[in-house]
């Protein structure tokens, strides 16, 4: 099933990109550099939602002791780090033509950087233990603490300084961007999410096989 999701979402994303890069009109203020949005927005959206998924999995693992949830955390963390890295780098390259600088001590950028460091902390915490069952518990506790903390960090950093434009798409408000730019953006979000989901499926396959290699059902499936 996984390769079909991958092929489909790659095609979907390619379609959205051709639309967004070639056919959507240039932004009135930012010119053509705004086209980075078709990568930046899906990546920054996923960087946070992947963390939420991890937090839900951590809760499930700690309360009901479902092992699969722990494997999910372990396999999402590196992908989340990758996505956050993409959001950071696309944002900073976007910043060069629009703000004239690649880095600003701005609220959203800083909190994304903190999120990136937290992902790396999760990965290094898990990999420093040889007893995986303990490591699963520790990583879930840390994910939950981070889950409580991320909104606090975001709020406090917002309080500290803001330069970034407000979110272009929110669920509650009417979108503030033109439909000709919006539709390709929605399509690119779906496509990019599909690619990332298939990457997560792949990595969780690796982890399940690694941890359950002695079980007979794994042997049958190999």
């Amino acid at each position: 099933m996984y390769p079909y999701i991958l092929y489909f979402s790659v095609l979907f994303y390619a379609f959205a990109l051709v639309w967004g890069l070639g056919f959507a009109p240039a932004d009135y203020v930012q010119g053509n550099s705004f086209r980075i949005i078709y990568l930046h927005v899906p990546a920054s959206f996923l960087s946070q939602s992947l963390y939420i998924v991890m937090a839900i999995a951590a809760g499930i693992f700690l309360i009901w002791k479902v092992k699969l949830a722990a494997y999910m955390i372990k396999s999402i963390a590196p992908v989340g780090a990758l996505v956050t890295f993409i959001a950071l780098i696309s944002g900073s390259i976007w910043g060069i033509p629009t703000w004239g600088t690649w880095w600003q001590w701005d609220a959203r950028i800083t909190s994304t950087l903190i999120l990136f460091i937290m992902y790396l902390g999760l990965i290094s915490l898990h990999s420093s233990f040889t007893n995986f069952e303990k490591a699963d518990k520790f990583i879930s506790v840390l994910v939950l603490i981070g889950f409580v903390n991320i909104p606090i960090i975001k709020k406090s950093v917002d309080w500290w300084s803001t330069l970034h434009q407000p979110a272009s798409i929110t669920l509650t408000n009417k979108p503030s961007i033109d439909p000709t730019m919006l539709y390709p953006l929605i399509f690119s979000m779906i496509g990019f999410s599909g690619i990332i989901v298939s990457l997560i499926i792949l990595s969780s396959k690796v982890h399940i096989f690694k941890r359950e290699s002695h079980k007979s059902w794994v042997k049958r499936n190999v």
Binding site: I114, I117, M118, L120, G121, S124, L125, S128, F129, K134, K137, F138, V141, L142, I145, G146, N149, I152, I153, K155, S156, V157, W159, W160
Partner: protein, 215 residues
């Protein structure tokens, strides 16, 4: 009550664990003026941020082995078997660290801040905010170090420091407001509220983590 005496005694006898950090705090405070231009105005602008960062680093260094030694010689196990809970031990340990390290560096920092800015009003900015923030720092670093117990303190710091940013921002806001002559008592109250939450919850989380380590 006996536990407090025992823990106090243990830390007191370990000079390097509490006198060392205080001296490190002093050294950081001294070394900043050497790298900034020696005009007092430039120093006044950044002095408080030096103070916050110095206290953060000091706490980071001092808390790095808060549970390590008790873990290695079996004291944590012993305590768990005897009391069936680790909460009181962890709570007391953090309290003792605050008494032996947090309070001295708060007083030192306040002392220097009076000297630097020629302004007695800094007494009611620096002292309460340092006292509260060091307690919060010790709690959170203890959390990070319990996660990375016997895996090195760098990992603990890596985990903890992102969690501390809101407190640092709050501290910065306090100084900013004080410079503009606004009220700071509401910000201090906010920090006190955070501290109260942390005092209750963090030892619980830490005892769960350490219990897992012992398994």
């Amino acid at each position: 009550m006996k536990l407090i005496f025992v823990e106090f005694f243990k830390l007191k006898m370990k000079l390097r664990a509490w006198l060392g950090p205080i001296l490190i705090f002093l050294l950081i405070i001294i070394s900043f003026p050497l790298t900034v231009e020696l005009s007092s105005e430039a120093l006044n602008d950044v002095f408080y941020s030096i103070l916050w960062i110095a206290s953060l680093l000091t706490i980071m260094v001092s808390v790095e082995s808060i549970f390590l030694e008790d873990y290695e010689d079996g004291y944590l196990e012993y305590f768990y078997v005897a009391n069936n809970s680790l909460f009181s031990l962890i709570f007391t340990k953090i309290l003792i660290y605050w008494i032996l390290i947090g309070i001295p560096i708060s007083c030192l920092g306040t002392f220097f801040s009076i000297n630097m800015s020629d302004d007695i009003s800094s007494l009611n900015i620096a002292l309460p905010s340092l006292l509260i923030s060091t307690y919060i720092f010790i709690n959170l670093f203890a959390l990070g170090n319990s996660l990375s117990l016997n895996k090195g303190s760098a990992l603990g710091a890596l985990i903890t420091i992102p969690l501390l940013f809101p407190i640092l921002i709050l501290l910065g806001k306090i100084v900013l407001n004080a410079n503009f002559g606004f009220e700071i008592s509401n910000l201090l109250l906010l920090m006190l509220g955070v501290l109260l939450l942390i005092i209750v919850f963090i030892p619980f989380i830490i005892s769960f983590i350490i219990k897992t380590h012992l398994e």
